[in-house]
Subunit: 196 residues, 2 copies
């Protein structure tokens, strides 16, 4: 087999491990928690369906590519709760090492491309990255909203923490934001989230 294809297949086989990284968010039927691979697929659908709420001129192909690769570093670094402050701080160092190893399986040109996509997603600086990050916040909110609270339950979370976490949605999809606030409000009413 040509050495380039050998490297490409080694990367694709390694990527399979993302299916074993379990997230905090449950499936809607609450039968189990979802994994980062199926979560990534769901983000692509969210993007396809809700892109009309995004800014004009966004490069949607770039958003799709970013979404497809954004969680690969979790193969080594694991998934960390956004509300676990200590673990979240150590996350960046572990993910940096993971990006080096995992994208390093690819031929150099593709390694650069994938690394750029991941760096761009993490930096939240381009319209594409802002939309991708908004989708990455909205999908777990929908999972939680439709599974009785999901990963919000039993964490003593305060309304303001969720609103802050969801803020990228307000910036990237302003017309969807009122629905996000409605969901948060209803889980405050239900006692899953505290108001302060």
């Amino acid at each position: 087999m040509n050495p380039r294809l050998t490297q490409q297949i080694a990367f694709l086989v390694e990527a399979d491990k993302l299916k074993s990284v379990v997230r905090r968010t449950p499936l809607v039927d609450a039968s189990r928690r979802e994994n980062s691979a199926e979560h990534s697929w769901h983000l692509l659908l969210v993007m396809m369906v809700l892109r009309e709420y995004g800014a004009r001129g966004v490069d949607w192909m770039r958003v799709m590519e970013m979404v497809a690769v954004h969680d690969l570093v979790e193969i080594d670094a694991g998934d960390v709760s956004a509300y676990d402050v200590d673990a979240f701080a150590a996350k960046a160092v572990r993910e940096e090492a993971a990006a080096g190893r995992i994208f390093g399986l690819l031929p150099p040109d593709q390694q650069s491309h994938f690394r750029e996509l991941w760096d761009e997603f993490e930096a939240h600086a381009t319209p594409e990255a802002r939309f991708a990050n908004a989708v990455d916040r909205l999908q777990p909110l929908l999972q939680n909203a439709h599974s009785g609270g999901g990963s919000w339950c039993g964490q003593s979370l305060v309304r303001a923490q969720i609103v802050r976490r969801m803020a990228p949605i307000e910036a990237a999809m302003p017309d969807v934001w009122p629905h996000v606030l409605d969901v948060i409000e209803s889980f405050c009413d239900a006692g899953v989230l505290r108001r302060d």
Copy 2:
């Protein structure tokens, strides 16, 4: 909430069920069988990494969209082994009904778009559909190759059946085809597949 967004979210919540459709193919570590949602994500990565082997001028955004939606009908119709002749014949009727119901959750314009993507994928007629189908054959082959035979085991499969099933790869990614034949040959040598 505006009625359009209500429909869009209902579709996205329904799509979550694809994570519970279990395929024949195992994860590479053979710990369990993969589901159709994580499989769909994996196809996107395969497309991103191997598109250099495809034809020139392919609309890769279209391929990505097609791959993201291609298995949604399995929420109602289930996953069927490509080598189970009777079940495979009844599949088209069930999938047709499923497409009507599931894509029908979307607003009419998006319903048409998603339906067109799925029809195009099923028809294998455009360069985009041919590449998407090739990727849909190659990913399970890689899963099987790296998990000791995977879904090929215990099915009394003959070499010619696998070669026929994999043929879209030869057409869409001719430079990858010799590797596919090598994999098939090695599983004939190992006694997992019969030569005739």
